[in-house]
């Protein structure tokens, strides 16, 4: 602790010398705190901020990382915007994201609800559901790659055994997307379910009791109380899966990296990041790679803004009250309607 002692003593001595009447130098006094927060900012300056600025400069050049840099102005950007493959990588990424996120969140909700209802084996379930998330994508992709394989895949063997035709999953752009989305969903469903579960457990049981008194069925309770109250948690998972979804890379690289076309047949699995990797490191177009990085950044900002809009002004307590009121009204109305129907 020689360093920290050395850092501490001057300040301490100083304060004693100056006495309480003198105004202490706030900056000097806070020196240890600056030292404490410095490592992050220094590392960020070198490995974050500097590369970000450098990438602007780089994106105005044509450079293979080895030879001389050549100034090309905005050419990289105009090439990017007119490149059909780039737009395809964006639509691919969004399709894979939807294909994975929607079923994933629905399944997670179902699992979380079941976990909430089940009283036994909870910790076993939690571990079992969380394990996919800590398993390496590379290994998982290899396994799923073989399950989806055209010629020896388990899925096709199953289809053949029940008398259906084989589907060439990994040769069809949509098949590739389904395969990748399955991998993503498999890895993250349990994770999201556990987060939903925490959200469920935070909902006060009074609301359910009140609903029960009003005669709400469990399905009504689920859709009219549980889901709306989980909204902040659902949005959290939506935000994290958006950011994760826009950065999908490993799956297509492992499936198709060796084939010379990182997106696979028809570029069906070409995501934005794999497009970036392929251009920057597959063909050593460093300037172009930097330009793609900026496109990715703009996309993420765009989606973050959309997400913020969705979250906007959602104050927990207000939601709770509003939801409770709305649920009560709805359930009462439905009950009234039912009674009306029964009566006639």
């Amino acid at each position: 602790m020689a360093v920290s002692d050395a850092l501490r003593s001057p300040a301490a001595v100083r304060i004693a010398d100056e006495g309480p009447s003198q105004r202490p130098n706030k900056f000097k006094q806070a020196f240890p705190q600056y030292v404490a927060v410095a490592p992050f900012f220094i590392l960020f300056a070198i490995f974050g901020a500097f590369p970000v600025f450098f990438s602007i400069w780089l994106s105005f050049h044509s450079w293979d990382g080895i030879g001389q840099m050549k100034w090309v102005g905005l050419e990289q950007y105009s090439y990017l915007l007119t490149d059909p493959t780039f737009w395809k990588s964006i639509t691919n990424t969004l399709i894979i994201w939807v294909l994975s996120t929607v079923p994933m969140l629905l399944l997670a909700l179902l699992i979380a609800n079941s976990l909430h209802n089940a009283t036994r084996f909870r910790s076993f379930y939690r571990i079992a559901y969380f394990i996919p998330n800590i398993t390496s994508v590379v290994a998982v992709t290899m396994v799923f790659g073989s399950v989806f394989s055209n010629n020896f895949g388990l899925l096709n063997a199953f289809l053949t055994s029940i008398g259906l035709d084989k589907i060439e999953w990994l040769s069809q752009p949509w098949g590739i997307k389904i395969a990748i989305a399955t991998i993503v969903a498999w890895r993250w469903t349990g994770y999201n379910a556990i987060i939903f579960l925490a959200g469920l457990q935070a909902i006060s049981s009074d609301i359910y009791e009140a609903a029960k008194v009003d005669g709400a069925s469990s399905r009504q309770q689920f859709w009219q109380i549980t889901v709306p109250l989980l909204r902040p948690v659902i949005l959290f998972t939506a935000v994290t899966s958006t950011i994760g979804g826009l950065q999908i890379f490993t799956e297509s690289q492992v499936l198709f990296g060796a084939s010379g076309s990182i997106g696979g047949p028809g570029d069906g699995g070409l995501t934005i990041v794999s497009y970036l990797y392929d251009n920057a490191f597959g063909s050593n177009q460093f300037g172009y790679g930097a330009a793609i990085g900026w496109a990715l950044f703009i996309l993420i900002v765009l989606f973050s803004i959309i997400n913020w809009r969705l979250i906007g002004g959602s104050d927990d307590e207000r939601i709770t009250k509003r939801v409770a009121r709305r649920a009560q009204r709805k359930i009462a109305a439905e009950k009234a309607g039912k009674e009306y129907a029964d009566a006639h």
Binding site: W57, Y79, A258, P265
Partner: protein, 427 residues
């Protein structure tokens, strides 16, 4: 621009890093220990025994050893990334027949003329030797093997299908691609699921490998939209339309699977495919394979080169190693395993090469490949061939998977090539 990249970096990152003492040792060295020359090569591109010998000591360079690393998959990406990374670059690297792709960065490699390469020039095939020399007469790469092509087929499956089984008869039944397709149709009728290619790009690549010209002329004119390319394109599409492709894309596990499970009953391939294909993926089919002259005539695909990077610790020793590894005698040994075809004509008479290969039912496969090599006309590779080839094969795949019609894919491919060539300033 007056501000160069180096200056820019020195002003900003360098400054920041120096201030925090992070630069440490900026070593710009090659991979491996001081007495060790690191070598990168593809799987199945060097003979294991020779490498084992060189890893104890390079003959003729006392105290120096070679450490081989096999690289799989995206070799080019790894090599280019390592060159751009500027440290941990290997001393010696294998390069494929797209050696011209690296010509713009020829200064990253040593000029082998200066190391005395011309002394052994006479031992090598002339067309092969020339491929490693840049237009401004810098010898960037040294010949390894060549890739004469032939038709590989499963004798057992052909027999089952009632097709000719002896190499001479098969060759007579399929002298050109059309008759080969007819043969394939009969095969498929008798053995459902059987295929004569793993995917569309293989047919295209091997049809292209038989042509005396490729994508550019020597004086830099683009001819990839010419009839010779379109014919190879149409042929590939035809094979797929006849249902004779296994639709197992190259580099995928599927591509290995169709060899292992016997779907691929015939394949026009280069000599090195013997190892990378059946010998590795289907060892249990030993004795059932045969080779015979390919439909459409002789061709050459692949066959590698060795280059010494400018980071090399000991260029003399590296050059000693290369000339030793690629001597006629050692190239003959590399034909035994992993079936590399020598670029040194003196090897062809070596008894090691003329032996019977039990994997091919005791056939003397050298006869078939030597014939192909002798008749092969040679071709010209431009630095842009890889750039051109990429969209063309990608669009061919689009035809195979049914995403596009042949004409649409062709037009899209030409459009993409045009964009790429304009961008790199080639046209």
């Amino acid at each position: 621009m007056t501000l160069t990249r180096r200056k820019f970096l020195a002003l900003t990152a360098g400054g920041a890093a120096a201030a925090t003492g992070l630069t440490g040792c900026g070593s710009r060295s090659s991979l491996g220990a001081a007495d060790e020359l690191s070598l990168w090569a593809w799987t199945g591109s060097v003979n294991d025994d020779l490498i084992a010998q060189a890893s104890k000591g390079i003959p003729g360079a006392p105290g120096k050893k070679v450490a081989l690393t096999r690289i799989g998959g995206d070799y080019k990406t790894k090599l280019l990334t390592s060159l751009a990374g500027k440290s941990m670059v290997p001393d010696i690297v294998g390069l494929n027949d797209d050696v011209a792709t690296y010509f713009p960065n020829a200064d990253q490699f040593l000029d082998l003329h200066e190391l005395g390469a011309d002394q052994v020039k006479g031992d090598f095939l002339e067309w092969k030797w020339k491929l490693g020399i840049t237009p401004d007469n810098r010898m960037m790469a040294f010949p390894m093997d060549t890739g004469p092509t032939a038709l590989f087929y499963r004798r057992d499956i052909f027999a089952k299908a009632g097709l000719p089984t002896e190499p001479g008869d098969v060759a007579a039944a399929a002298p050109d691609w059309s008759s080969y397709i007819e043969l394939g149709k009969k095969l498929k009728q008798a053995v459902p699921g059987a295929a004569i290619t793993d995917n569309i790009t293989s047919i295209y690549a091997y049809a292209l490998a038989q042509l005396p010209k490729r994508y550019m002329t020597v004086d830099g004119q683009y001819i990839g939209n010419g009839d010779h390319i379109r014919q190879a394109w149409d042929l590939s599409v035809r094979v797929v339309k006849e249902g004779l492709s296994a639709n197992a894309q190259s580099g995928s596990t599927d591509a290995n699977a169709v060899i292992t499970n016997g779907r691929l009953a015939a394949f026009v391939g280069a000599v090195w495919w013997a190892q990378l294909g059946p010998k590795n993926a289907a060892p249990e089919s030993k004795g059932n394979w045969r080779v015979t002259p390919a439909p459409g005539g002789p061709g050459n695909r692949g066959g590698s080169f060795l280059a010494i990077t400018k980071y090399c610790k000991d260029p003399e020793a590296a050059f000693k190693f290369i000339t030793w590894l690629e001597s006629a005698q050692n190239q003959a040994q590399s034909f035994l395993d992993p079936v590399l075809f020598p670029s040194t004509p003196a090897s062809y008479a070596d008894p090691k090469m003329t032996g019977a290969d039990p994997f091919f039912g005791g056939q003397r496969i050298v006869d078939v490949f030597a014939e192909s090599a002798k008749k092969y006309p040679g071709t010209y590779f431009s630095p842009y061939d890889s750039i051109i080839n990429k969209p063309i094969t990608a669009e061919l795949v689009n035809v195979e998977i049914g995403a596009k019609s042949s004409d649409q894919a062709w037009n899209d491919a030409q459009h993409l090539v045009d964009r790429e060539l304009t961008r790199v300033g080639a046209i």
